[in-house]
C-alpha cells in the first residue's frame, strides 16, 4: 500500500450518531429560521392588509336617509314638455328642502331649519335632479327616495363619533343627534352601497368624493406610459442584446441603463418639469406628461428585464434558425423574440405596476392638483390613484380617513390584478427546452 493510500485508510469518516444528529439539527434550525422569516413577513402583510381593510371597508357604504319627495309637476315641468333642458333647470333646491321640512314638521325657525338641511349632503338638490332626469315618470308623484347624508352624519351612523363627548368637542351637536335618532327610529336611515365613491372624482365634501377621476387619470397615464415604453423598451433590449457590437460604448450604455433604474423617481419628475413642461410647454397636470415621465422612469426596468429574457433563450435555438438559413433579423423576430416575449411582458407589467404606484414624480408636474372633473383625454388635468391617496390622507375630515384606506384598497386591487396578469402570462407562454 502506498503512503497516500495508507494515510487515507487510517482516517475513517466519523459516522457516529451524535455527529449525524448535529448535521440534521443544523438543517432543522435553518428550516426554522426560514419559517420564522416567512412567518414574520406574512404577519406584517396580514397586519398591513387587515388595518387597511378594517379602516377602509366602511367607505364602500354610505349612510342614506329616506325622504318623501314630492315631484311637483308645476315646479319641475309646468308646461309638460318633458324637455331635459327644462327639467334640468327646475328648482330642485326648493323641492328637496320642502321634503326635508316635511320630514320634521316640528322644526321651525330659520337657524334650526338651516341646521336641519345640514343633515344632508350639499349634493341633495342635484341628487333629486338626477333622479328626475333618469326617470321623468317621477314627475307628479310623491315617492320615498334614499339620499346621501352629510359626511358627519355618515360618521355618526358608522359609530366613529363618540356620543359621550361634551357637545363642544363633537362634530354633531345634540340637536342634530336628536334628529338623527328620530330618523333612525323611523327606519329612515340605512347604509347603502357607496356608488358615489366609484362614479365621481374628488370633492371637498367627503360624501361626494370618489375615486373614478383618479382611476381614469391613472388609466390614461399608464396608457401613455405603455404606448411609449413597450416598443421603445423592447427595441432597445433587442438591439443591445442581439445586434449591438460589444465594445466600450455599449458597456457604457449598459452601465448607464442600470444606473438609471436606481435613480430616485423624484429626479425623473424634475426632469419632466424642466423638459416637458418648461421647454416643450406641454399642459400641466396632464396624463400625457405624467405618462412621459413614468415612461422615462420605467424604461430601464423594462430594458433590463427584456435583455435578461433574451439572454435566457438558449443559443441552440439561434443556431437552429441560422442553420436553416434564416438571417440574423429573421432569427430574432421569428424565434428569439417570441420566446423572450413572456419574460418581456412580465417585466413590462411589473414596470407598469411600479408606475401605477408612483407618486413623487407626478407631484413635480402638477398632477397633485385638486381636480373635480373626470379627465376625458390625455391633455385634461388629472390626478392618479396614489396621489389621490396622498391628498385624502392630508385632508382633515374624519370621513376622508376611511376613503383614504378605501382608495388604497382599490390601488392594491389593481396592483394585484396586474401582477396576477404577469404570472398568468408567464404560465401561459412558458416554454421548456
Amino acid at each position: 500500500m502506498t503512503d497516500a493510500a495508507a494515510l487515507l485508510a487510517s482516517k475513517r469518516p466519523d459516522l457516529s450518531r451524535a455527529r449525524i444528529n448535529r448535521r440534521y439539527a443544523a438543517e432543522k434550525r435553518f428550516r426554522l429560521y426560514g419559517l420564522i422569516a416567512i412567518g414574520a413577513a406574512m404577519l406584517m402583510l396580514a397586519i398591513l392588509l387587515s388595518t387597511i381593510v378594517a379602516k377602509g371597508y366602511s367607505a364602500f357604504l354610505q349612510t342614506h336617509i329616506a325622504l318623501d319627495v314630492t315631484f311637483d309637476q308645476s315646479v319641475i315641468d309646468p308646461e309638460g314638455t318633458r324637455n331635459p333642458q327644462t327639467l334640468a333647470r327646475a328648482d330642485y333646491r326648493g323641492i328637496s328642502r320642502e321634503a326635508v321640512r316635511d320630514t320634521f314638521p316640528e322644526v321651525t325657525g330659520r337657524r334650526d331649519t338651516r341646521n336641519l338641511y345640514k343633515l344632508f349632503s350639499t349634493d341633495l338638490e342635484f341628487e333629486v335632479m338626477r333622479m328626475v332626469l333618469a326617470d321623468p315618470a317621477l314627475i307628479g308623484t310623491t315617492k320615498r327616495v334614499w339620499v346621501k347624508s352629510a359626511a358627519d352624519i355618515d360618521m355618526l351612523s358608522k359609530g366613529y363619533i363618540n356620543r359621550d363627548l361634551p357637545q363642544a368637542d363633537r362634530r354633531v351637536n345634540d340637536q342634530a343627534l336628536g334628529w338623527y335618532d328620530k330618523l333612525d327610529a323611523e327606519g329612515r336611515v340605512s347604509r347603502l352601497f357607496n356608488t358615489t365613491f366609484f362614479t365621481t372624482a374628488d370633492s371637498r365634501e367627503p360624501e361626494q368624493a370618489g375615486i373614478l377621476g383618479a382611476l381614469v387619470g391613472s388609466a390614461l397615464t399608464l396608457l401613455v406610459t405603455l404606448v411609449i415604453v413597450f416598443p421603445v423598451g423592447v427595441s432597445a433590449a433587442v438591439y443591445l442584446e442581439e445586434f449591438a457590437p460589444k465594445n466600450k460604448w455599449t458597456d457604457l450604455i449598459e452601465v448607464n441603463i442600470n444606473n438609471l433604474a436606481a435613480v430616485p423617481s423624484i429626479v425623473f419628475g424634475l426632469l419632466g418639469l424642466a423638459v416637458f413642461l418648461n421647454f416643450f410647454g406641454l399642459p400641466r397636470s396632464a396624463p400625457l406628461v405624467g405618462g412621459l415621465v413614468l415612461a422615462l422612469m420605467t424604461l430601464p426596468t423594462i430594458i433590463i428585464a427584456g435583455r435578461s429574457a433574451l439572454k435566457a433563450v438558449p443559443p441552440s435555438i439561434r443556431e437552429a434558425a441560422l442553420g436553416v438559413g434564416a438571417s440574423h433579423m429573421q432569427t430574432v423576430t421569428h424565434h428569439v423574440l417570441p420566446l423572450a416575449m413572456p419574460g418581456m411582458l412580465t417585466g413590462t407589467i411589473i414596470g407598469m405596476a411600479q408606475a401605477l404606484g408612483e407618486t413623487a414624480p407626478l407631484l413635480m408636474i402638477g398632477m397633485v392638483a385638486f381636480i373635480v372633473d373626470i379627465p376625458g383625454s390625455i391633455t385634461d388635468a388629472a390626478t392618479v390613484l396614489p396621489v389621490q391617496i396622498y391628498l385624502w390622507a392630508d385632508a382633515p375630515e374624519r370621513a376622508f380617513v376611511e376613503r383614504t384606506s378605501a382608495a388604497i384598497l382599490v390601488l392594491l386591487a389593481f396592483l394585484i390584478a396586474m401582477n396576477l396578469a404577469a404570472i398568468l402570462l408567464r404560465k401561459k407562454f412558458e416554454r421548456r427546452w
Partner: protein
Amino acid sequence: MSLDQPVNDSEIMETEIKVSARGVGVFYGEANALRDVDIDFRQHQVTSLIGPSGCGKSTFLRCLNRMNDTVDGCRVVGSIVLDGQNIYSKDVDPVELRARVGMVFQKPNPFPKSIYDNIGYGPRIHGMATNKTEMDEIVESSLKLAGLWDEVKDRLDEPGTGLSGGQQQRLCIARAIAVAPEVILMDEPCSALDPIATAKIEELIDELRQNYTIVIVTHSMQQAARVSQRTAFFHLGNLVEQGDTEQIFTNPVDDRTQSYITGRIG
C-alpha cells in the same frame, strides 16, 4: 451522374469534389484554434472528422457554413470553395450559403413549435412553397427522407419538443434537408442519443449520402468507421491525416493517428 442514382462503392473515388478547403485557419482573438487545413469533400460521400476534444474539428465544421461568423472575435483565414466559389468572398451571403449547407447540431434543437412548423420554417423563409399543398409535400417528403414520417404523420401539430431524443434529432435532420441543401454538416449528431437511436441515425446518414455531401464530426471511431467513406484526423488544431476510412483505421500513416485510433491519445 444524376443525384437520384445510387452510387456504389467502386465509384466513390470518382465523384466530384463538392467542397475544398485550402489553408484554412481559425483565430479566436489571439488564440489560433486551427492551422492550415487542406481537405476536399466529395459528392455522395460521408467524410468523418475525428480527433480528441478541442482539436478543432467542430471549429472547422462550422467554417463550412460560416457559422463561425456569429461568434464574436472569431476570424477565419484561407479559402473554402463550394462549387467553384469561395464561400468567404465578399459576394457570398452567409444566409444564402447556410441554405445550401445545412447543419445538424450535437444536441437535438427543434424549435418549440409544431413538428410541421419545424420542417416548414426553412422552406417558408426561402419561399420554396407558394401554397399549402406544396408545403405539405415538402414537409412530408422531408420527414419521409429522414425516416420519421410513419412515426409522426398523425401528430404533425404536436410540438417537436415532445418527441424522444432520437426522433428530435431526425426531426432536425428533416428540417435541414427541407431547404434542399447540397451539403449537410453534422456536429456529433448522436452524442446525446442511446445506441438504438444512434443506429437509426447512422442508417439514415448512409441513405442520405445518395443525395448529399455529408461531413460529420464524431467522437466515436466505430461510428466513423461505420458511416463514412473518408476520414480526417485532427489533433491540436492541425489536420494530421486524411484518407479512405478503411486505410485510416487499418493502416494509418501518422503515428498520432495510430495512437488515437488505438486509444493511446485522446
